[in-house]
């Protein structure tokens, strides 16, 4: 296990060195040649995208960004794929981290090593960089990191004298006590339609679903740490200690009705919680995510980055736009101008900007960004998403609803996903080394 991580690390270090040489040290190498004026079309489903485009247009008279809103989810990625295939792609598009390798491997996005590579190297910590630097090239610029946190009902915990758990063992106790205190309430959720949290928890435990060695992928979706996580959560779900439900309306209904009093989420959930359940103001608090050994460890659940799709008409100006919206304080300010987003910037220098914009009275004045910052620092390094995440995620999601009733085990789900992933990668001609 350790050896594998070291190898992956060594691999990325070599890649970075190669990259530095290739760029010859000049910061603006390739991008200087590209034009930085003209029209840019911009696809995004992320909240605040319209304000960001408007703010950029105000401060950059030479470039005109047209924002087009798109639905989120799998439909969006098919739409983007088709647009690239048909040569009608936008100049800038949002892609979440898990989907990024797939787009890179399909040749659907431009290699940004020359234009934005140095910026990525300069401004982002390894925890974010590892997600956008793939195969020695930079494919995207991170916008937000989504470090794990624990959301909990402070009033409920105080009233029933329940401690906020710091380890997963304590977390299990907490769920038992919550259920005892109120038979309708639960202290956690296993989403039936979203594999994101499960993979984040595997990542946090030291799992490593994908890694690259030389010219081959190593696929270990069902490695030891991931199985440990799966057994833990599978048991909680089977014993009805955590809810097993969909991540959208069923989940928010359970929160609204006071049936979910704690859940593992990420930095952005503070804003979502505040906006979706406004009348529970003052009742919630944010805590660091529990860990296996009590030492800080974290991972990302969500988060997004920006790419330049293949066939973009105006990549010079597009790069300028991406740079501004991910690393410029004014750009970051525009993202959070509505005052309802608790996004955690992947560029740590910008945290004060977002922190200032997020009112914390919903959380009783708690410094939620301090919790996020500590979690961001604790993100495990070496994680990589795979080149067929669509298949991997579908294989997991297809089985998730059956975990709670015991018809499949959660670690069995990971094995199924492993097989489906390997089969799909072989089909595409990707090189796979034996695990």
């Amino acid at each position: 296990m350790l050896r594998r991580t070291t190898a992956a690390l060594a691999g990325s270090v070599t890649a970075l060195a190669l990259l530095a040489t290739a760029c010859g040290g000049t910061d603006q190498g390739a991008s200087a040649t590209a034009e930085k004026t003209g029209k840019v079309t911009f696809w995004s489903f992320v909240k605040g995208s319209d304000q960001v485009a408007a703010a950029f247009n105000r401060s950059h008279p030479g470039i005109e960004v047209t924002f087009e809103t798109v639905p989120s989810g799998q439909e969006y990625y098919s739409k983007l794929t088709n647009a690239v295939k048909a040569g009608t792609a936008p100049d800038v598009a949002v892609v979440e981290y898990p989907q990024l390798p797939e787009f890179a491997a399909q040749g659907k996005i431009e290699d940004l090593s020359g234009s934005l590579g140095p910026l990525v190297k300069d401004r982002f910590p390894e925890a974010a960089r590892q997600l956008v630097d793939l195969g020695g090239k930079t494919w995207a610029v991170p916008r937000d990191a989504a470090p794990l946190t624990l959301m909990y009902r402070k009033d409920f915990f105080t009233q029933h004298k329940i401690d906020v758990p710091t380890t997963w063992d304590a977390y299990r106790n907490m769920t038992e006590r919550v259920k005892k205190a109120d038979p309708a309430a639960r202290g956690g959720v296993l989403y039936t339609d979203n594999p994101g949290l499960l993979s984040a928890l595997a990542w946090q435990a030291g799992g490593q679903w994908f890694s690259t060695e030389k010219d081959a992928w190593k696929v270990t979706v069902d490695d030891g740490p991931s199985k440990k996580v799966a057994e833990f959560w599978g048991e909680l779900a089977r014993k009805d200690l955590v809810r097993s439900l969909g991540s959208l309306d069923p989940f928010w209904t359970s929160v609204q009705k006071g049936q979910t009093v704690a859940y593992v989420c990420a930095s952005w959930c503070a804003g979502a919680q505040q906006a979706t359940v406004p009348d529970q103001k003052g009742k919630w608090a944010v805590a660091p995510v529990p860990t296996w050994d009590g030492k800080p460890a974290s991972a990302m659940y969500g988060g997004s980055s920006f790419v330049i799709p293949k066939g973009a008409d105006n990549s010079g100006a597009a790069a300028e736009f991406i740079k501004w919206i991910t690393t410029d304080p004014e750009g970051m300010k525009a993202w959070v101008s509505s005052g309802t987003s608790s996004l955690f910037p992947a560029d740590p220098q910008l945290v004060p900007v977002t922190k200032a914009a997020f009112p914390t009275d919903y959380f009783g004045g708690q410094d939620v960004y301090a919790v996020g910052a500590a979690s961001y620092d604790a993100i495990r390094q070496g994680w990589q998403w795979g080149p067929v995440m669509g298949t991997t995620n579908t294989a997991i999601v297809d089985q998730l609803p059956k975990v709670a009733d015991g018809s499949v085990t959660l670690s069995g789900v990971l094995s199924t996903a492993q097989q489906a992933t390997v089969a799909q990668m072989k089909q595409r001609g990707l090189q796979i080394s034996a695990p």
Partner: protein, 316 residues
């Protein structure tokens, strides 16, 4: 073929039917013949129908009630009960002002895509169906089996090749990219052929021909008016189909100002809770209610036509 003669549009128009008048008398006769079961009494039959109505209407009441709720009540109260406060007016206000009033624009787009599109599609279908039924030309049945092939092909699967071709023609992200595919309705051609066979007696055409009317004139002046109920039926079929289409606009359009209602609501719905703007979830619910209303109105206005039209299609 004998049933056709009784099936002129007038005879099958609703409420003008013979079924109601003879009812009272035979009921008395039957009472003598055999004691009717409870289920066959007036109350029993009405109760059965009411039960079925409950099944069709109850899901719609959820939509209606949810549209009147505040965000807290939407997630916090029973779906078949009223919320603590009535927010319908507020919600409607938000709906029509959200994103600079884009909802109204989506409605207008939809009216163009579905209304004008289905109108033209119905014209083309009726013309083609009539030609297949009444005119002699070589390769007729072979062409017709091509039409039937068009009926069989799964529409969702053709969206991608269609999109890639549209991209080559420069129609992606334009009004035409969604509008033009809506003009083709193979099933409508099939129906129109059936309608033509049952509505347009050959003798009438012969008479028109005798009078020296050209074939085209005979179609326009004589046959087309007789096909009116069929025309409306085909129009409504295609209207709902375009109104319902989701996948094609999704891939074809990226400019929000070109969206049909369906796609716009989906954008609101899909990112509402996952991207943390829950206010859009309520917009999607209220927007759905408002979107259903004009459709129901269209069906109500045209019900005289489609009821008789559908029978003709069925009797063949």
């Amino acid at each position: 073929m004998t049933t056709f003669s009784t099936l002129s549009p007038a005879a099958s128009a609703p409420e003008a039917t013979p079924v109601t008048s003879p009812a009272p008398r035979p009921r008395q006769q039957r009472r003598v013949a055999k004691p009717p079961s409870v289920l066959l009494s007036k109350a029993g039959v009405t109760a059965l129908l009411a039960l079925a109505t409950l099944y069709t209407l109850l899901p719609l009441t959820w939509l209606l009630l949810s549209s009147t709720k505040s965000r807290e009540d939407l997630f916090g109260t029973n779906g078949f009960a009223l919320g603590e406060e009535i927010h319908l007016v507020d919600n409607l206000g938000h709906l029509f002002t959200a994103d600079g009033g884009v909802y109204l624009r989506w409605v207008m787009n939809t009216v163009l895509y579905a209304g004008v599109g289905a109108l033209l599609a119905a014209v083309f279908s009726v013309a083609a169906g009539y030609a297949f039924d009444k005119l002699a030309f070589p390769g007729k049945e072979r062409l017709f089996s091509l039409v039937l092939l068009g009926v069989m092909v799964p529409g969702t699967a053709m969206a991608i090749p269609l999109y890639l071709l549209a991209a080559k023609a420069g129609l992606v992200n334009t009004f035409w990219g969604v509008f033009v595919p809506g003009l083709v309705f193979p099933f409508g051609v099939y129906l129109a052929r059936v309608f033509s066979a049952s509505y347009v007696p050959d003798e009438v055409l012969e008479a028109a021909r005798m009078d020296g009317a050209g074939e085209f004139r005979a179609f326009c002046r004589v046959a087309f008016p007789m096909l009116a109920p069929g025309f409306v039926t085909i129009f409504l079929f295609q209207f709902t189909q375009i109104w319902n289409s989701f996948f094609l606009p999704l891939v074809m359009l990226s400019d929000q100002d070109l969206y049909p209602v369906n796609l716009g609501l989906y954008v609101w719905y899909s990112s509402a809770l996952s991207q943390g703007h829950p206010e859009d979830y309520l917009l999607a619910v209220v927007g759905s209610l408002v979107a259903v209303a004009p459709l129901i109105a269209v069906f109500l206005m045209l019900q005289r036509f489609w009821k008789s039209g559908m029978t003709a299609g069925a009797v063949k």
